[in-house]
């Protein structure tokens, strides 16, 4: 049921583009390919009058008092309802949902960001430790560690070191020196 509806997204969109190009011959603009729902059951523009709001609330299966569209600032939401930004994790796990994995009932209006709020993704449930305490502790720790590492890079501190001394006349044979020749003597000590 979901796959049939979702597979029809890209195809009708491309088809609508083609149809708009051949406007004289093709079907009227806005026609969809595979759905029995009439145009007034689909989302539309922002509702301006109270009658339009009531009709939109009825269309989305919501109470008129609950229905609150997104503010009309031209971002493309139309009359889609603004539901509380709560993830599906917060819904009752023991209720008999029609779709238990999504915790969603048939016909219930879906959040605009529904695909973000599914249980595999964003979870907005209240945390045991308060969020602000957690973020404060984390940011404090991270910033202190980063500052200390940065200071350690700028002002390194270690015991005095000298260049490494290699035996066997500075590894003369290992570095490919001629075995028949006498190597140059390298002495690393002073008596």
């Amino acid at each position: 049921m979901a796959a049939g509806a979702l597979r029809g997204v890209l195809w009708p969109r491309a088809a609508a583009g083609l149809r708009a190009a051949r406007a004289a011959l093709a079907a009227p603009a806005g026609a969809r390919a595979a759905s029995e729902m009439s145009q007034d059951m689909m989302p539309g523009p922002y509702p301006r009058t109270p009658e339009e709001r009531a009709a939109a609330a009825k269309k989305y299966n919501m109470r008129v008092e609950d229905y609150q569209p997104y503010p009309d600032d031209g971002l493309g939401y139309g009359d889609y309802p603004m539901l509380p930004n709560k993830s599906q994790y917060e819904r009752d796990p023991w209720y008999q949902w029609d779709q238990p994995d999504m915790r969603h009932n048939w016909g219930e209006p879906m959040h605009w960001d529904f695909d973000m709020y599914i249980r595999n993704r964003v979870d907005t449930s209240p945390t045991v430790v308060p969020w602000h305490t957690m973020s404060k502790h984390f940011l404090l720790f991270l910033s202190i560690m980063l500052i200390m590492f940065g200071l350690g890079e700028i002002y390194p501190s270690y015991r005095p070191v000298g260049p490494k001394q290699y035996p066997f006349n500075d590894l003369y044979l290992e570095k490919g020196g001629d075995p028949n020749k006498k190597p140059p003597t390298v002495i690393h000590y002073e008596i």
Binding site: S35, P45, W106, W131
Partner: protein, 137 residues
Amino acid sequence: MAWAPPPSAAKLYRPNRFVSLPAELDPATYDTSPEKLRAETERLAIRSRLKRQYLLQLNDPSPPAVIENPALIRWVHAKSQNVYPTFRLTPRTSFLGAVYGLGPLLFWIFVLKADRDRKEKRIQEGKLKRSPFSVFF
């Protein structure tokens, strides 16, 4: 010496963009007014009506091949085909369009150009090791 009292639970667990208010601290949970009761009853009526429609289709002896969910169809339509007709040019949308559309393009143009100019300068000064071209590294 008197320390300040610890912050209240409502202040500690206040909601933000990432986490919502716990139900125990929400005054609406403890609201038992008749308006709330009526609202809940209406919502239950809508929910039961939808559930009845769904279960009738589900348990039909000759069920339809696909039980279409009108809420899903509307959601898909709203996110894909209803954005362009309801879009409007406002100062905010044109600013956002410029930032998201042209911003990355101009940024990468300047970054890549500066990088290549610096490499060219190093080649002119002879500092860059130019190995002969090889496809095998």
